[in-house]
Subunit: 313 residues, 5 copies
């Protein structure tokens, strides 16, 4: 147990030893073990966007075994996927990589300005498959948000009672927000706070822009001169919104199509701002395995080094 | 246990021995036992379309015993039906044919652009009637889809805990789709992926056309040159969407009124594309028993032979 | 146990001995005991139409004890009523007549083009009151139909587990149907099939007319030359829709105001068509007891005799 | 046990000894003990109309202890109130007066043409507070009526299983009715019937007018010459609708502002018509305690005497 | 146990010793221990208004440990917060300050004229974190009010069974009310009554204005000459609406931006009117800790002294 992992676990005093054990499994696995940083492979795109859009660019990825192998070979901290993908490999790869069962999902065959997700797996499923955590998506700002928060509450309570960790994908979206608002700095910070108050152990958000969505928030950002001009500053502010750095906040890799340097610059900003790591889906499994391993190595290299430009929070 | 059945069961490492036992019962029964191919007789038309439309063309089919006898004599792998039909024969034919209890159904006395189904039987019903599996219909693309996915999740969890297999009828339909979209190749592939991610062991879909419904999908199909011109290619792609062939995907027999050669050509395409078999309702029970047995024999002849034109996946 | 009752019970092989015991109680009680025919007294009109409209024409009928006495004196097979009416007499008349607890009901203080019913009693209520069966109304064609089917499923499962029989009032009605369609031959046949597939042991429908409601059904009725010109033919067809006569289908007595000969002609047609009997409410309790007993005797005389004009199915 | 109480309890043969014990507690307490008549003090106005409108006319009534004392000093059969009021006195006044826990309530901060109530207490609450009965309001005629009936069903089943009695406030109201219709004789009679069929032991309604709301009912009232011209006749008819006098039907005291003679005339009519008593809220606690005691004494004097003008049913 | 605390607990005779123990913990902790007065620190603003708006004015407040420390150093009676904030400190500060777990919350990413809250924690969460009470918000006047009351009922029943106290934030709001009506004297009094009738032990409301919202209420306020001209009079009336002072009613500190003298004047009015104390969020944690401690000391000084101008109720 490194001092940094011990320090991180110190923020979760409300949890039982079972949940702390699973959190430490996530933090102490793979190449970044013990650093307090996480790189997670998530593969829910087959459900969320459809199989051809997700896997045709790299056809071996149609096979559920591929993603277990990729996560293991790359030295990721964990692999996250819906029920079917985990069921298809949990026995063959038992004990080789921490698993996160995504327990709710949506598809794009029907879309709604107020998105919602179906409950697609249970805490009991996570336990029988040997997972360390459940993953749950919420859409703050959607007309369905209150119901989703309530569902998360029930799942989180059962997960914690059974010693699992809770990872929340907090994606602001819906009638309450403009398109730009979905990644506005005030909204992303708020999305982190909501997930943290709902009891999440690990929170995944998108990287924020400098846009401010809500007038009442803008007044405060301006009055208090909160620095949000650079990506590093924004990451630092988002971490602050995550209980002053006492909740693990990780960032998604953004859209699939951009060049690697842009991606790595984002990683450097996350690292510099004190972010806990990345969750990289489409940028991992939609390229050939050698290319993916190379990219993931570059990402982990950054997280393993000292952060550019600035201390942690 | 043939090597092929063993290979197929190998894809279901997440399941307990009870469920594997029932999956192997389905794969090892009837004339196609051990081949890894399935021909299933489904009779839910009485509920879905009404009794006269379903059974008047072959009046003995009004009697629930008729379908048990037909499935047994034809050497089908299994017989699938709603609660009432199974209750009416489960004792008399106990142990003679694997049974699949259809646990949700709809009728056409009221139709909706966003279809839904009523829950009409339970996992407990399936257990007390000696069934190997439950059958559940989902309508991806309907406004009710998220709720249906959640219902399936609950049924599947209970079924798996009790050692039953889960067969999903995945029928894209509803406000999210055009009429042509219901059988579009991207949509059928997506419907298979959704069912697989929801934890289905066996997935039933319609044969796809070469139409592509979603713009975002079309871009990928074109960019990646996914071959979908022939029925065999489309079946092969659909299988790929079913976890690269690691999920049992079977195809329905289509509308009742076409000549047998068209039907058999479809079977050949399914076989050539690596499909796991067929589920033939109206084309079986709406003709006289001798004619049905002859047709089913022809279908099984195809599945027993080497596939035309092309290896498996 | 007469051969005919044994034959009828043979259609219920999916049920446990408890339920078969209660079905045989219904078939072996009263004047028609052992004949395989049933005449049941139902009194849910007080709830469904209001007390004055129901009972003022024969004021002793306001008293719940009256209906127990009428059913016993007439030699009916069973008495069916809502919770309150059964609670008011179940102890005083314990063991004297099989009881059917109606577990859902509606009133006419508020009407809806898509009717629904309230759940007004439970399976546990039926057990504590010594009933043989529960009675449940469904409205195929109503916007609420899927929910009602699901409620029936839950009630029926609990009833069967506890050894009770399930009687379904299947009344097509709602936005999916025209007024004439509610008694159309295709719709009544469909209503019987739905109830049977949902696991009903006994199904109550209205007598059908020769009208055909659904175009897709009409095509089949015409192509297959299904005989539906006479009431006897229509009854025979309805029985066929009830699993080829393997489900007990009984008919309601229609509107209260017609002369007795019309009523008795209908009974003769039901008998000739192979119907299992009648459920006669308003035509029983809205006349004086002597008149009711006389009428019920005439009805039972018909059912006890050989059917006019034609063998059973 | 007086013969009259024994006779009344004889109507409840479906109930267990626990419930009969609690019904007899209600009938055998206070000044009217053993007469078969009931005067109950209900105080749910604080919730239903607000505290100032309810208690400012007699400020001691803000204190929950006041109502216990009033009911005890007046010799009422029981005191009925929502959870908070009973919790505030149940220990101090334990055993001194039978209690009825009102388990659903509404307020007037938001009103709806289709009223509904919130579930505000449970059967378990009634048991832990030592109550004899639960009180439940239904609104026949409201768009929420079917759901309310279903809620009552569940509460009543649990109450009866635990030996409690069930008191139903049956108030016709909502989109199905005109304002006049809420107290129309046909509608009040129907409201009593519905409550009785739902299994109520005691039914509370408003005094009816001679208005007839429903056309189909009017035809019967006229054809059968049902006497409804006087209040006594209308009470008698309402009792008939309550299972021919075999269910305890009591009447509310009407609006608060009228002179006492009008109120006492109503009591005389209730008594003459065979009514089982009164439930008097605003006319009790909105005047000073001496005035209230005087009024309640006058009411009980009437119920203790022989009814004016006419035998019971 | 001081006589005043004993007197207060005397109003809760319906509760078990476990709940009384936790109520006395709240009353006997901190600087006001034993006085019968309460000053509570609530920090749900991060969820309700967003983290930057809540904590940027005093950045140490981003850290969940800060609020525990502030409440302890100030000598507050209790600290109330959502799940995440309590989980983050419950172990480190175990036993140092009574905790109230806020179990429902809302955010401002989407607002509705009829507000509602998500269920965000459970009674079981409160027990595992060592809390004395749960906190629950209701919105009387919202279209969701009946459902919220029902949720509170279920939470309160479980809390009381487990020996916890129940604190209700009763905030009138929604389609039934004007903006001014939300703090109208009749409405605030009504909000207290509703919470009390629902079984709350402690009720939090806003300070009322002299506005009267409902016509039917105005008639009574005028007829009875209820004094509501001064804040002290209004507080006294609100206490009366809380079961004549037998329920603990506390007041929130109002908007964040006003000068301290205005705030202290309000505290003096609350004290003079017999109020049980204050719950001060934004006025505490949005200033530096020394300033907050100074302000809270001034508030407690007032509550510890004799009330200005007037005896208790």
């Amino acid at each position: 147990m490194t001092p940094r992992v011990e320090e991180i676990l110190g923020g979760y005093g409300g949890d039982n030893p079972g949940t702390l054990t699973n959190l430490s499994r996530l933090l102490n696995h793979g190449r970044l073990a013990g650093t307090g940083k996480l790189v997670i492979l998530p593969v829910d795109q087959g459900f969320e966007h459809g199989p051809a859009r997700s896997f045709a660019p790299n056809p071996p990825a149609y096979d559920p075994r591929y993603h277990f192998e990729l996560a293991i070979e790359a030295g990721c901290n964990a692999y996250a996927a819906p029920l079917g993908f985990l069921e298809a490999g949990a026995r063959a790869f038992a004990g080789e990589i921490p698993l996160i069962l995504k327990v709710n999902d949506d598809d794009v065959l029907l879309t709604d300005k107020d998105p919602d997700q179906a409950l697609t797996a249970s805490v009991q499923d996570a336990l029988r498959l040997g997972c360390c955590a459940i993953g749950f998506t919420i859409y703050p700002g959607s007309a369905h948000q209150l119901q989703m928060f309530g569902q998360l509450r029930a799942y989180a309570e059962e997960a914690k009672r059974n010693g699992l960790a809770v990872v929340v994908w907090s994606y602001p979206r819906g009638a309450g927000l403009t398109k730009d608002g979905e990644t506005a700095i005030d909204v992303i910070g708020y999305a982190v706070q909501i997930a943290a108050q709902l009891g999440a152990h690990i929170i995944k958000v998108k990287l924020p822009t400098a846009h401010i969505e809500q007038d009442a928030a803008r007044a405060v950002y301006e009055a208090q001169h909160i620095p949000i001009a650079t990506q590093t500053e924004r990451v630092r502010h988002v971490l602050q919104c995550g209980f002053a750095g006492r909740r693990i906040v990780i960032f998604s890799g953004g859209a699939a199509v951009f060049d690697d340097e842009t991606l790595l610059d984002e990683i450097r900003a996350i690292h510099a701002g004190g972010g806990f790591g990345s969750i990289l889906g489409r940028n991992s499994f939609q390229r050939s395995k050698p290319a993916a391993l190379k990219m993931l190595k570059a990402v982990m290299d950054i997280y393993e080094g000292a952060p550019d430009g600035g201390a942690n929070l």
